[in-house]
């Protein structure tokens, strides 16, 4: 058995928010939002000028973050966060502004690691005055920690105080606002001890939910159960009510259908949760509150509570010294259903959506003048709440809120395919994401998004473009200089772009370089010489010697160097009078010069002392320009091809900077080299000796690379042009080379004007294009095409750029069911549906809405949609050509006739597997169907052929040797196309299977993945028409997705967030294919399974649930990787290692980093990655990339331990990413 080694990398982190909080985490007046998503903690700040939330920092915590809560100890001006995770520890984090990262202040162990029933971490509650916190588990355990601060203003934490209650389940917990009395925590609990003992079930039916107060006695240092009272059995959420001087104290208990105010020894106040007035109202569904937020203002407070349909309600309390007088509820607005809501003091609402984009709203008003009906608790005093008539409201568009910013997310990401439909260099990821009416079909590509400012047609095809200002102190560029093969055109930048005729430039010749030099003069280099134009248009010319031409030139504000066709270099320097003076000698290079570069003049110096010269003998020379040793060759580097461009440019770099000064990073001088073979190199150029070292390479495309210095978001960057346009820049501390999602340019330069301060100008064919780069922190761009319902699966047309997407939503009214209801209801037959994107589709228990849509990702349109009727829901889809069927043969004959008449269309069928009347919990189903559609109209239309009933919902299917292979429940069947229905040809059934969810085929091999029983390899035997199992797995993996790596090997993911690679024994595999006798047929089964077992090659826990997995190549010229997508929006890869040295190196680095870069929430990295099965043969690249974030001294010591330099380690880590992915 050969082994494999994989390197795991996250390309797009999860975007689903688990919990979000607001507070002053950096200690400034401005409030910030912290979100926890997956294993990451992110800090966002609102940027009023851009009108959007800006990501400040994002930290990988290597642990499952389940909840976060902010708190502030008395007297402090800064909020901290407490994290409830799977680490069995309570972590208190502080945000360090100057380091832009989180550090843990306290990390106290209280229990076992992992997400367990009785280990606290699920719930967190904090005393509003920041004096104590309660961390609790779903069952039994509650721990209270006292928070305080010492004389040096450091936060202190006590040892835990127990408030356990065995055999009781916790639904919600919150801190009670009691002013400065002893802290109290309110908990919503159910005690099941009696129900567990009563065989009659009577006790279970009478189980009561209680609201219990736990008081922390600060004097006696213990926790007591202070008060307990019975509340509604369906209660689910607690909201704290301000106390002390600010309010009546107590809690709001949210339950199904209504909200109750409760407090110890105080009267109860109830208000109903209003329902939408629509004809589709399902009386069996009672609204619940899914999340809410309490907001305190100067003298007042209110609650915003969100119902399960997304409606926000404003709840206010009238109170006096004796207590609460009335509770009031009023419809506020409707926003997508959120996981958590946060109100910022500056008047904004952050709603972290359950599915789809997170929204950021501004409060326009607080609903006072809305005229919405208010429901008051004084009208709901006596009796049961169900005795009162239901409260109704009319949903409407936003009135009190206005949408400011949406944060695009991929959550939930349900299926993805990597394909190259556009014929670009790199493939695109086509993904299905979103939930319900907020779903979309996404086209994702690696690249920076740009905004085009100008695109204009030019009279000819220019070969080069420059922008230049007129004087050194100008802020904006004044001229755009275009060079054509036979002339030069100068345009002025202003309100309008006009041709300039008196610029002093020679217009009858092409240009090689343009530069603003000295205070206010310009230089134009052209093949026959150099033209120096002073401010008063006085021209000084230097002419190239007879019979020679200038072939390459480089300039900066003080220096000009040109290379002649005789391989000589002529060097000029600007003197104090602003005159260009030629250096007395010329440098003979020995080979013809292809390119040159002199860097910018460093601040405070008179010249740059290095000239880089590239020759066509595949070398780069660094030549000194210092007066002491002018033209002395300092170093030479050999290359794989001749350099096409050189660029000396320093870039921000953290390598040798102390971490505390990360904000003003120092720069390192680099020589950027573009080669004729499309490779881009970046070497460190030593500022003293001129030696080149630490070369990083990247393949950019098929054309010679041209490099240009531009600015991108206030940092110097390199625009690299090959068959695609790329930008090389620094992100955080990492060097990135990312393609631009834009036309491929031929030449470019920086651009700066009043309208567009930091832009880039480029030429593409005969077009002049000016654009800006939007955001350097996002290196993927996705275009979304909205879908009707939650997408389930998609399949591509066999040879056209079209996708067939099936969508289905549970508990939703389909259009036909809606029509039915509308026609029967007396009122509102002219009812107009609300836009589903904001308000959701009308919900109705046990109803399904489902459809098939055709998506054209290139034109971003949907040519056709078929709605399923009769409460059917689609779950699987495939394209099958039915090559072997008699019907098909008949058709083919017909087609041949047609072909003769010039009307040829390849005929393929779309097969959709549906379930009728499906209930998921408990699982019931009224049977399944296989719908067959003929693909017509070049793939843009579907023609219904027939449907076939099957006993279970078909969840997986694929084409297999010209027939259809379907997984129906625990059966695997082969169907062929008949005239009236599909015909069953072969069946395989096993007691070991529960529900087949994936099928992969290759030759005669069929690999099925079961929902609980991992994968089984089968072989199809033509002779006997039988499917025979040859090998299966020893672990019961709850498979979600599987793909084949080779004929023997599969990789897949399971429901618990693991990725694994399994391989069939070679002998077994060979025997199965060669065996023509009855060996397999008569093989002894082993423990009810197949005769042999699979070997596990690799295993890794990724936290997010893998939803699709594929073997693909992501970067042009790169190796193949395993790409997976996760439900919460993760996209990641497993890349194979090339050499054993690399494996050893990264293994060593990983081992060291496990100790040196301890995970933030206190989880042990090795145990985390082996949550279910110990990690095998996978190295965590995300951990290795933490190396770049470490303080310098730590970096040094780790590098020393690895016997490398810091740069080498960093380059190796960064190289792994660029080699395989982005």
């Amino acid at each position: 058995m050969t082994s494999i080694s994989l390197y795991s990398l996250t390309l797009v982190p999860p975007s689903a928010v688990t919990s979000s909080v607001v507070g002053q985490f950096s200690g400034r007046r401005q409030q910030e939002v912290i979100t926890a998503s997956g294993s990451r903690i992110q800090l966002y700040r609102f940027d009023p000028s851009a009108g959007r939330l800006v990501l400040i920092t994002s930290t990988e915590a290597f642990g499952i973050i389940r909840t976060i809560k902010p708190f502030r100890v008395a007297g402090s001006s800064k909020d901290c966060v407490i994290v409830g995770s799977d680490s069995g520890r309570i972590a208190i984090l502080e945000y360090k502004t100057e380091q832009t990262r989180f550090v843990h202040v306290h990390l106290e162990t209280f229990g076992k690691t992992g997400v367990r029933r009785v280990v606290p971490g699920q719930y967190l509650a904090v005393d509003p005055k920041g004096r104590a916190t309660m961390i609790a588990s779903v069952e039994k355990n509650k721990l209270v920690y006292i928070l305080n601060r010492d004389t040096n203003a450091n936060i202190t934490i006590s040892s835990p105080l127990e408030a356990h209650k065995p055999r009781s389940l916790l639904y919600a917990v919150t801190g009670l606002d009691v002013g400065y009395d002893n802290p109290i925590f309110a908990a919503l609990e159910v005690d099941y001890s009696e129900a567990d003992l009563d065989p009659s079930g009577q006790a279970y039916r009478e189980v009561q939910k209680t609201l219990t107060y736990y008081q922390l006695d600060l004097g006696l240092n213990h926790v007591v159960r202070m008060w307990s009272d019975i509340v509604d059995r369906q209660s689910n959420l607690l909201m704290e009510v301000p106390g002390g001087a600010d309010g009546p104290s107590g809690v709001l208990v949210c339950t199904e259908g209504y909200i109750v105010y409760r407090h110890m020894n105080k009267a109860v106040h109830r208000v109903p949760i209003p329902r939408r007035r629509t004809p589709y109202d399902d009386p069996s569904r009672k609204p619940i509150i899914v999340c809410g937020v309490m907001h305190k203002m100067k003298r007042d407070f209110f609650f915003l509570l969100q119902s399960d349909e997304g409606d926000l309600f404003k709840v206010t309390i009238d109170y006096n010294v004796r207590g609460v007088e009335a509770l009031k509820i009023q419809y506020f607005d409707t926003v997508p259903v959120a996981i958590s809501l946060n109100i910022l003091k500056s008047g904004f609402l952050f709603a972290a959506a359950e599915g789809g984009s997170h929204n950021f709203y501004q409060f326009v008003q607080l609903g006072e003048e809305s005229g919405e009906k208010e429901f008051v608790s004084t009208e709901y005093v006596k009796g049961d709440m169900s005795d009162y008539p239901a409260a109704y409201f009319y949903p409407r568009q936003l009135e009190n809120l206005s949408l400011v910013h949406t944060m695009d997310t991929m959550n939930p990401l349900i299926d993805a395919k990597v394909d190259n439909l556009t014929g670009e260099d790199a493939p695109q990821i086509y993904a299905l994401s979103g939930q319900g009416p907020r779903s979309s079909f996404r086209t994702m590509r690696n690249g920076l998004d740009v905004t085009e400012v100008v695109a204009s047609e030019l009279p000819g095809e220019p070969t080069a473009v420059w922008t230049t200002k007129l004087a050194a102190e100008d802020t904006f560029d004044a001229y755009i200089v275009l060079s054509f093969t036979n002339g030069t055109l100068v345009l002025s930048i202003g309100e309008t772009v006009e041709e300039v005729t008196d610029s002093g430039f020679l217009s009858s010749t092409p240009t090689l370089a343009v530069q603003q030099v000295g205070d206010d003069s310009l230089v134009q280099v052209y093949p026959k010489g150099i033209r120096h134009i002073s401010a008063n248009k006085e021209v000084n010319e230097w002419e190239a010697p007879l019979h020679t031409m200038v072939v390459a030139a480089t300039t900066n504000s003080k220096q000009v160097a040109v290379a002649l066709s005789t391989s000589e270099i002529v060097y000029f320097e600007l003197d104090d009078d602003g005159q260009l003076n030629e250096y007395q000698d010329r440098k003979e290079m020995g080979a013809s010069v292809t390119s040159m570069s002199v860097g910018d003049v460093p601040e405070g110096k008179v010249r740059n002392s290095f000239l880089a010269v590239g020759c066509d003998d595949r070398t780069v020379h660094i030549v000194s320009l210092d007066p002491e040793n002018t033209f002395e060759s300092l170093s030479v580097q050999a290359l794989t091809a001749s350099p096409s461009t050189l660029r000396i440019l320093s870039m921000p770099d953290s390598t040798f900077v102390d971490n505390s000064q990360l904000l003003d990073v120092s720069s390192t001088l680099y020589l950027h080299i573009g080669l004729y073979n499309g490779v881009y190199l970046r070497s460190v150029l030593d500022t003293i000796t001129g030696q080149l070292s630490d070369t990083q390479t990247q393949f950019l495309g098929a054309r010679p690379v041209k490099l240009f210095k531009v600015m991108a978001q206030d940092q110097p960057a390199i625009l690299a042009l090959s068959s695609r346009s790329w930008l090389a820049y620094t992100k955080d501390v990492n060097f990135m080379v990312t393609p631009l999602v834009y036309e491929s340019l031929e030449f470019g330069d920086g651009f700066s004007s009043e309208q567009c301060e930091v832009g880039i100008v480029g030429i593409e064919g005969s077009n002049l294009r000016i654009f800006m780069i939007n955001d350097l922190s996002e290196n993927t761009k996705s275009d979304a095409l909205p879908l009707a319902y939650t997408p389930r699966r998609m399949i591509r047309h066999p040879n056209r750029a079209l996708f067939y997407v099936i969508e289905s939503d549970n508990n939703t009214l389909a259009p036909d069911a809606r029509q039915e209801l509308l026609s029967t209801s007396r009122k509102q037959s002219d009812y107009e549906d609300l836009p589903a994107e904001e308000f959701g589709n009308p919900k109705f228990t046990e109803k399904w809405a489902s459809c098939i849509e055709i998506v054209d990702p290139l034109s971003q349109e949907k040519p056709a949609r078929i709605d399923l009727v009769d409460n059917e829901a689609a779950f699987s889809v495939t394209v099958c050509s039915f090559a072997a069927s008699p019907r098909r043969r008949e058709e083919e004959e017909e087609e041949e006739d047609r072909k003769a008449s010039g009307d040829g269309e390849e005929s393929a069928y779309l097969v959709v597997g549906t379930a009728k009347d499906l209930t998921l919990v408990p699982r019931r189903c009224g049977g399944g169907f296989l719908h067959v559609y003929k693909i017509v109209d070049e793939g843009r239309g579907l023609e219904f052929v027939h449907k076939t009933e099957v006993d279970d919902p078909p969840v997986a299917m694929t084409e297999f040797q010209g027939r259809l292979l379907v997984g129906v429940g625990r059966c695997l069947r082969i169907y062929d196309l008949g005239m009236k229905r599909l015909l069953r040809k072969c069946e395989y059934k096993s007691r070991n299977l529960n529900n087949i969810v994936t099928i992969n085929v290759a030759h005669n091999r069929v690999i099925i993945g079961d929902i609980q029983q991992s994968v089984t390899y089968l072989v199809y035997r033509h002779a006997d028409n039988k499917l025979l199992p040859l090998t299966d797995d020893v672990v019961a993996r709850h498979t979600t997705c599987v793909t084949m790596l080779d004929y023997e090997t599969v990789t897949g993911g399971d429901k618990f967030g693991n990725l694994w690679v399994l391989r069939c024994k070679e002998q077994v595999s060979r025997d199965a294919d060669e065996d023509n006798g009855a060996q397999l047929l008569n093989a002894r089964t082993y423990l009810d399974g197949a005769p042999s077992r699979l070997d596990m090659l690799a295993h890794f826990y990724v936290q997010d649930i893998p939803t699709s997995i594929q073997k693909t190549q992501l970067v042009p010229g790169g190796r193949e990787v395993i790409l997976y997508t996760g439900l919460q929006g993760t996209i990641g890869v497993l890349a194979p290692f090339v050499s054993h040295e690399d494996v050893d190196f990264f293994q060593q680095l990983e081992t060291i980093l496990r100790n040196e870069a301890r995970p933030l929430a206190g989880r042990d990295h090795l145990i985390y990655r082996g949550s279910y099965v110990p990690v095998k043969s996978v190295i965590d690249g995300d951990l290795c990339e933490m190396y770049a974030m470490l303080p310098v001294d730590k970096k040094r010591s780790i590098a020393a331990e690895l016997e490398r330099t810091v740069r080498e380690v960093e380059r190796k880590v960064a190289g792994m990413r660029t080699r395989y992915a982005f």
Partner: protein, 94 residues
């Protein structure tokens, strides 16, 4: 006898301290010990349900499948933890 008593006491101590500690009659097999089997299965179910709630991705997985908000799914799961496998069998019946 004293040893047996002490072992019994130790076990009881463990049972009160940790949730789900079994006893000599705990068995997964169907058969005569239906009472204990139910207890064992209930424990497994409760552990599973707590894990579904505790892993955010898993909760979302269920929520997307059921097309219900995560809060509703969460509450349903805790409700199910009260009695995941039906009422216990009467001891005398066995």
């Amino acid at each position: 006898m004293a040893d047996k008593l002490r072992a019994q006491q130790q076990l009881e101590q463990l049972q009160t301290r940790y949730v789900g500690v079994g006893h000599a009659d705990t068995t997964k097999q169907y058969g005569s010990h239906f009472f204990s089997q139910l207890e064992w299965l209930s424990n497994v179910q409760r552990d599973s349900l707590a894990a579904y709630i505790g892993h955010p991705a898993m909760l979302e997985h269920f929520s997307v499948a059921l097309n219900e908000p995560q809060e509703r799914v969460r509450v349903q799961f805790i409700d199910k933890m009260i009695q995941p496998c039906g009422p216990p069998k009467d001891k005398e019946e066995i």
